[in-house]
Symmetry: C2
């Protein structure tokens, strides 16, 4: 078999798996939207069956043979060519999947399934004692996973790399340290400001139908293609890309709070634009796939915050917003803009503002890294968590359900995942700065309703690249430099400095 | 390997395939309901990939080996035991799938895919000349399929048996002949009656929301579990059973015609009750699956017509109907009941009343049988079709789009399928007569809103039997006799005799 034949075999195999994965994603979306109450048990069994089949496909020895066949005939593909990229990522995925022994994968699947169920029950009751054993088990098995995958410097590298290829703990901790210092300092200045927003205007009445109509109008205006996607209502919003031409956003509406519905939609739209921007001709291969969670989050956070919380954006949409929402008719645009940008330390990550959000992430990163290094025991973790909240945010969780037990991630085995949220913010600010260099001041464009220049730029520089570059290489390729936290720091200082006049 | 081990292997394999088929059904439902416009091309490719995988699974030589292993160690399972039933049906399915050569299956798939596309375009334009070649091809390939499957008396047997196991063309033609004669005679008497309903009351205004609310109330009252199912709106209504606890009905509403929405819902509910009545512990094996299209249709037609168009049913629901629909407030119950039972020969099968419906089916059966026997050429088929409409219904299609080209079935390769619609009516009447013997007069129960006795009877006698009995054996088992058209004939004569006072 020639290298070219082996490549074609892998390509078809990868595409077939991708079509099957589309079913899993569609069924997942349906679980959150339209599955009847009594259909969930059957759905779980469907998903388990397909997951097993996909795992068998991904780890099939034939894949390894085909990869080896191409690699042994080296020099077949131009570096950076479509073929070279696909080969690199297929190898990466195959190694990741096959390095973890079956026994460990099964044990971890059981522990995380149990973990999520226990968490669900224990969290509302602040029941740390009953949650602790399963959390210990999950961290212990995850340590084994990291060892099976292998790493250069520390265990955390192996976990992080699964979500953010090429990222290292060392680099991350340097960058996060800078971000933490700058954020804590900015927060200090904000606290000292005499100027404070009136966020009560966001707590007025916002009818559900009006929120949906306005949300749809905004995302369509920005460039999300509603004929190639949907917007539905769920309890815990997410974006699900089924495949080319079918990218589904979800949201939830609170009639007494503006932000949840609106910024939820814009956030998921950011993810959805990435999905709609992938090249359909590469569907089912790495060249047609998103490269990382951090890059994904850079898209959602950019549209949500750098665009959606900018004054220029609201200058354009304000007349329509006032038409849609009676409760905004006596509000001044500048006051509304200040209100949606209120900075207020809180205990809950998912409700955090742009400034404090990263502190929540840094705390999780520091705690999970210390746990993996063995510098911290699970028993001591809640106290370590609380101490960091005191130090960085000036708040102490009175209850563990709003402390270490607030997120589902660890229970689901998602360790090494949290940093991708802050990486998204960092990448987003760095990309945005480059886009302004290339396109001129963007807020002035938003004021005119011109979102296409930024969207086209994103599509060309990021979406259509698929998995061509790992995140750090993509950054270098697009912005000419390595990850640099100063872009986000400068953006935050500038924006909140103006708002709070500090 | 022991027979028991081979059985366990087949059972697990069958269940796994069933879970994968659940994905295909869910994706099919989603195509009709919520797939965005630009997502359909991707969805078609998803379905093709999964269909190929399922075909490979179904025809895998290992299945044949396992079946042979059990069969060779004969006497392992009690006749009529769960194991014996599953084994019989697995063998039947495996033979059906493996007898058709790959080449023929692929050619037919291409021809029917092309056939549906051409039909879609040619039908509105009455374009017989452009449709004829593909129809010829489909009939020619279907003849090959019948030959590959094999048959005792005539080719049509092989095709019919795919949808209605054990049914024979010979038996069918005898039964259909009796039904035709009785129906034509009844129709003659109805035409001669001076009493005619005022169906204009059904053409008033029926708000969509009111139709939906009333429909949901009715099916819930009858016993369809809306927590284990859904009701959505589509262009071409159907029922889709995803799996235990998840059975989905669809309908469409016309605001200026009552019947389409309401009787559509009750019809699909009949299918859905069958789906909800299957035993979940046998999911994924023949014992937990519907036995045939005819038995399925017996359920939908029974609830739609024998129940839903009965006077007793409307005596119970009339107060609520008048509350829901302002346009019914000045209508007398008896007039409404007569109107929904109007008999009026028409050209279109899907709009036909209870009396003339079977004539539409018999015409299709006679034409497709003659085509397969070679007694009729495709070129002559439209004229043969029209002649039968003249003879049986006293109408002649002025245009072929309302004649031979009206249904999609043949374009999709569904030849031998139409008879199952009338078999459904025949089975339904025979079951219903038995249910009245067992439970007493049913309309009096409907009058009191007591639908549970009939539903429980159906569940016990039919739904929970899964594929234990082939349709003829099920009939014998439940009613003590073979298929007997007299039950349907008597029912029609009695009901329409009273309505039209003939």
């Amino acid at each position: 078999m020639t290298a070219q034949e082996a490549y074609e075999w892998l390509k078809e195999y990868s595409q077939e798996s991708a079509y099957l994965e589309s079913f899993a994603r569609l069924a997942g979306w349906d679980q959150a939207t339209y599955t009847p109450k009594k259909g969930h048990a059957h759905r779980a069994r469907m998903q388990a069956t397909l997951a097993k089949l996909l795992h068998q496909r991904a780890t099939h020895p034939r894949v390894g043979e085909m990869l080896a066949c191409i690699e042994q005939s080296n020099g077949s593909f131009e570096p950076d060519s479509v073929e070279a990229v696909n080969l690199r990522e297929w190898r990466r995925a195959y190694d990741l999947q096959t390095k973890i022994p079956e026994r460990l994968a099964v044990e971890l699947a059981q522990a995380t399934s149990e973990g999520q169920a226990i968490w669900e029950e224990a969290r509302p009751k602040n029941d740390w004692e009953n949650y602790k054993p399963v959390l210990k088990k999950i961290f212990s098995l995850t340590r084994e996973v990291a060892d099976a995958i292998g790493y250069r410097e520390e265990r955390y590298d192996a976990l992080l790399d699964r979500y953010e290829p090429g990222a290292t703990t060392r680099q991350l901790s340097v960058v996060f340290e800078q971000l933490r210092e700058a954020t804590v300092a900015l927060l200090e200045r904000i606290r000292g400001s005499s100027r404070q927003p009136n966020s009560a205007v966001l707590r007025r009445r916002f009818h559900r139908e009006a929120q949906e109509a306005f949300g749809r109008e905004v995302i369509a205006r920005i460039g999300f293609d509603l004929e190639a996607g949907r917007l539905d209502v769920v309890a815990h919003p997410f974006m699900q890309g089924i495949g080319p031409g079918d990218v589904r956003l979800t949201t939830r509406y609170l009639e007494d709070f503006f932000n949840t519905g609106f910024f939820g939609i814009v956030h998921e739209m950011g993810h959805g634009l990435y999905g709609q921007g992938l090249l359909p001709e590469h569907f089912g291969t790495p060249m047609g796939s998103e490269i990382s969670l951090g890059i994904h989050e850079s898209q959602s956070r950019t549209w949500e915050n750098l665009v959606g919380r900018s004054l220029g954006f609201w200058r354009y949409f304000w007349p329509r917003a006032q038409q849609c929402f009676e409760s905004l008719r006596d509000v001044r645009l500048e006051d509304f803009h200040f209100a949606i940008n209120e900075v207020k330390p809180s205990l809950i990550r998912v409700e955090a503002d742009e400034v404090t959000y990263n502190l929540h992430i840094l705390i999780r990163f520091e705690v999970e890294r210390a746990l993996l290094r063995g510098e911290l025991a699970i028993d001591e973790a809640p106290e370590a968590w609380n101490a960091k909240y005191r130090e960085y945010l000036g708040l102490e969780p009175p209850e563990i359900r709003n402390g270490l037990m607030q997120d589902v991630h660890w229970s689901a085995g998602l360790i090494g995942y949290f940093p991708t949220y802050s990486l998204g913010n960092l990448y987003g600010a760095q990309f945005f700065a480059q886009a302004e260099k290339d396109l001129g001041p963007l807020e002035r464009q938003f004021e005119q309703g011109a979102f296409a220049p930024l969207l086209n730029w994103m599509q060309e520089k990021i979406h259509r690249q698929g998995s061509r570059y790992w995140p750090r290489d993509l950054l270098r390729h697009v912005t000419g430099e390595d990850l640099n936290p100063q872009y986000l720091i400068d953006y935050l200082n500038r924006k909140f400095g103006m708002l709070y006049k500090i």
